[in-house]
């Protein structure tokens, strides 16, 4: 569904993404893990068009999308939930969701959009309760739900999530993750997921990539990665040296 080939991204002279190739298959959750500053956010932003790659190809459903503007990419069915949520804080919860449907909204045919809003409220009942509240007054977990709901309002086929669980209480993060699984299983959504907590990301993912200082250093099925010694040492917090001396 999404194929990256030899993508390079620079911030001025900083080479943030180096020669990255990856493949997201339809109906899969693909986890991208890596330390802080590895280039995960940069890579996601390049896919959604916020940042331009300097070379390489980004193919979405067979067509080249690198170099296109974010509004064109959203129309093609890629929705990006950015790091730090980026909800419209001074707008109401309802307006945040409504704006999610911006690219397909038409005043005369607002029926489908209204229906989809109801679906979001059914999925995240807490948002229904807070409909009229300013989005900035929501708790962190609620803001994340709103950010995801807003992205879903665009009717994506590929959902890109940048650290949806970061900064949330573990139970809330778990809830968010179970929503992500349900989106894949019940709605057939394809998900590209970046998460600091590598374990919980790999647990729900089908396959994964490990990125280090801008380079993909490892890839495989989620099980493989969970069992990989290097991954365990670097990202899963297991100190194998002390566990098994010699």
């Amino acid at each position: 569904m999404l194929i990256l080939k030899n993508v390079e991204v620079y911030y001025g002279k900083i080479h943030a993404v180096k020669h990255v190739s990856l493949h997201v298959r339809k109906g899969e959750i693909v986890a991208l893990i890596g330390a802080n500053g590895a280039g995960k956010t940069t890579l996601l932003s390049t896919i959604s068009g916020l940042i331009r790659s300097s070379s390489g190809n980004i193919l979405y459903e067979g067509s080249e999308i690198s170099g296109r503007n974010p509004d064109a990419i959203v129309k093609l069915g890629i929705s990006h939930v950015p790091e730090g949520r980026h909800i419209f804080k001074t707008l109401s919860v309802e307006d945040n969701l409504l704006l999610g449907s911006y690219h397909r909204y038409s005043f005369r045919k607002s029926g489908p959009v209204k229906k989809d809003m109801e679906k979001m409220y059914a999925m995240f009942p807490i948002l229904a309760k807070r409909k009229k509240q300013l989005a900035g007054t929501l708790s962190g977990g609620e803001q994340q739900m709103l950010a995801i709901g807003r992205a879903l309002m665009a009717e994506p086929r590929l959902l890109i999530l940048d650290e949806p669980g970061t900064g949330l209480a573990p139970t809330i993060a778990k809830e968010i993750f179970s929503h992500i699984v349900r989106l894949r299983d019940d709605h057939g959504l394809t998900v590209l997921l970046v998460e600091q907590n590598a374990r919980s990301a790999l647990k729900i993912a089908d396959s994964g990539y490990v990125i280090e200082t801008g380079r993909i250093i490892l890839q495989g099925s989620a099980e493989e990665l969970l069992l990989n010694r290097d991954v365990q040492r670097a990202y899963l917090g297991r100190d194998l040296d002390t566990e098994s001396p010699l």
């Binding site: 990006h80 950015p82 804080k89 707008l91 704006l99 911006y102 690219h103 665009a154």
Partner: protein, 295 residues
Amino acid sequence: MFTVFLQFLFSGLTVGAVYALVGMGFNIIYNSTSIINMAQGEFVVIGGLFMWFFSETVKLPFFLSAILTVLAAGFVGLLMERFTIKPLKSNDLLLMIMVTIAVSILMRGLLMFKFGKDPYSYAPFTEGEPLNIAGAVIQQQTLWVIGITACCIVLLFLFFNRTMMGKAMRACAVDTTAAKLVGINVSRVVMISFILSAMVGAIGGIAITPISLMEYDKGPMLAVKGFCAAIMGGLGRGRGAVIGGFAIGILESMTAGYIHSGMKDAVALVIMLAILFFRPAGLFGSVAMSKLRKF
């Protein structure tokens, strides 16, 4: 005594209405770009002078002249954005503001070239006896100015709160990244905000000219007063600019009436300095909000 007060009050409301419109113009652009458009006053001048041109020189009917004037002003706003703001694409707000100053100087030059330095005026919208309220004389045009301003306020409120485009413009102001990600064409929103604020300014110019005359170099003073109105209410807040505009208009007119007319223009500046010193967030703006802002 009361009659005189009432007289001052009405003349204050009249100029205040225009300050409010200029202030809202500032807010429209500030809200979608964080730029302070120093050419805001020139759009008011364009309103008055173009209206004179269409109705007195070309001799078009009143309504058509007004519509053409507003459209022309919108077109000037569009040109300004496409040729100065968009190509620069700079994050340096100070630079952008300087560019708007340059544009205002250019516009003033062109206006002087076409219209000369004379003040212009045309007939009030409706003829007839002035109204008499408790002894105070109120020209019908005064009511037009206040009425039109009120309509603009209501329409802008509905636009920003009830329409998708209006909400999208607010979304751009709150979070440009997120606005892009939901598919808003941010560059187009910036363009629309310049068109809209140019039109609002021109409407003010059309309405006020029969009362206070219009000449090519009235822009900067109007911009200062309108800017003052906008920061008095807290930059970016629609209702704030309206209240600020009327407040400055009334204070000015009272100062001119009770103290000295030479002091009139100092009022806005004193208020502006006081606010910048003591309450930079504006009287209605929240301090927390202003800290999140770039400017």
